[in-house]
């Protein structure tokens, strides 16, 4: 292939040799995914932005320690996970006082934006561990064993968190979606 895209491991190798532009390209490839993962996890845009910044800074500084460049995505998300949970631990009392927001009223005529807000609200009602399992699997597409590496826990724990989360989400979201589908037909 003539116009073959440069692969991440090639960019990592260049960045390790001090090629700043190669790292810039890596950041531009991954910033949206990392930001969205953090946004859903910490539920605050400014915090998600600050943590994203910190993640890419730490990744740059730790790049020489990355054993296998082919596993860059999992390694990057492990840094993101550590940074996000560090923030969540610091602000836990404040979050508990704030309480959980109520989901919007369900309606068969929901607009895509409202539906998205309902999903966001349903995700926010999960525990941080459960929410993170959904984010990594459903939105980031990691395999169970990759998630176990990111979260530094056994695959059985990953599955337990994810399956519990899906059971809870099923109770909230499935009846609503079925209602919407019925309203459309």
């Amino acid at each position: 292939m003539i116009f073959r895209e440069v692969e991440d491991p090639d960019l990592i190798a260049k960045a390790r040799r001090g090629d700043v532009e190669a790292y810039n390209l890596l950041v531009s490839r991954w910033e949206k995914r990392v930001f969205n993962y953090l946004l859903r996890l910490v539920s605050n845009r400014e915090d998600a932005m600050d943590v994203s910044q910190e993640v890419f800074l730490k990744a740059y500084q730790s790049l020489p320690k990355l054993d296998d460049p082919a596993r860059f995505s999992g390694w990057l998300f492990r840094i993101a996970h550590n940074e996000a949970f560090s923030l969540l631990r610091r602000r836990r009392p404040e979050t508990e006082l704030a309480g959980e927001p109520r989901p919007p009223e369900l309606s068969p005529r929901m607009l895509p934006m409202e539906l998205s807000l309902t999903v966001e609200s349903a995700l926010n009602r999960l525990s941080a561990d459960q929410r993170e399992a959904v984010l990594l699997k459903v939105y980031q597409g990691f395999k169970f064993d990759e998630m176990a590496e990111i979260l530094e826990c056994p695959v059985s724990t990953v599955k337990s968190r994810l399956y519990t989360a899906l059971d809870l989400l099923k109770v909230t979201l499935a009846p609503m979606q079925k209602e919407i589908l019925r309203g459309e037909s």
Partner: protein, 153 residues
């Protein structure tokens, strides 16, 4: 056909999330086609996952500062240990320490007078050396004239 025991039931979440290997996945599909309970469960899970996929992906509100930006510049302690910064910091510290000692006016005057007399002494010494050099050169020039005059004669 319905599930006889929970153990015989396929892992439908793993199935829908693409975590089953092809062989197990095929067996699960065979089971699904014949089991109304599992059919309902899979339908509900599928709807849940479809609904989750409606979550909008947000744009990054501002660009991540790249490595060429300020945030990636050396930290303060890294700059402190650079030779240029360290030399400047040493001078600044000396001025600050000197300033913080707050000497009396008499001490200041004495220090100034001492510095002036040292400079004057050095200046006088340099002038004497210069004067000696000029005197020696004048003698050399005079001798050259006398030699040249003798040759002409």
């Amino acid at each position: 056909m319905n599930c006889i025991s929970p153990d015989a039931k396929p892992d439908w979440k793993a199935y829908l999330l693409g975590e089953l290997n092809p062989e197990v996945s095929r067996q699960a599909e065979t089971h699904l086609a014949a089991c109304s309970i599992c059919h309902e469960e899979v339908a509900t899970l599928r709807v849940t996952l479809d609904t989750l996929s409606t979550l909008r992906e947000e744009e990054v509100p501002r660009r991540i500062a790249f490595v060429s930006d300020k945030v990636f510049e050396p930290r303060w302690w890294q700059r402190v240990f650079s030779p240029t910064f360290a030399a400047g910091a040493l001078v600044a510290a000396a001025i600050l320490i000197h300033g913080s000692m707050r000497p009396g006016q008499a001490q200041v005057d004495a220090a100034v007078n001492k510095a002036i007399s040292q400079v004057e002494a050095r200046h006088t010494q340099e002038m004497e050396v210069l004067s000696d050099l000029i005197e020696q050169r004048d003698k050399q020039v005079a001798n050259m004239y006398l030699s040249n005059a003798a040759l002409v004669r």
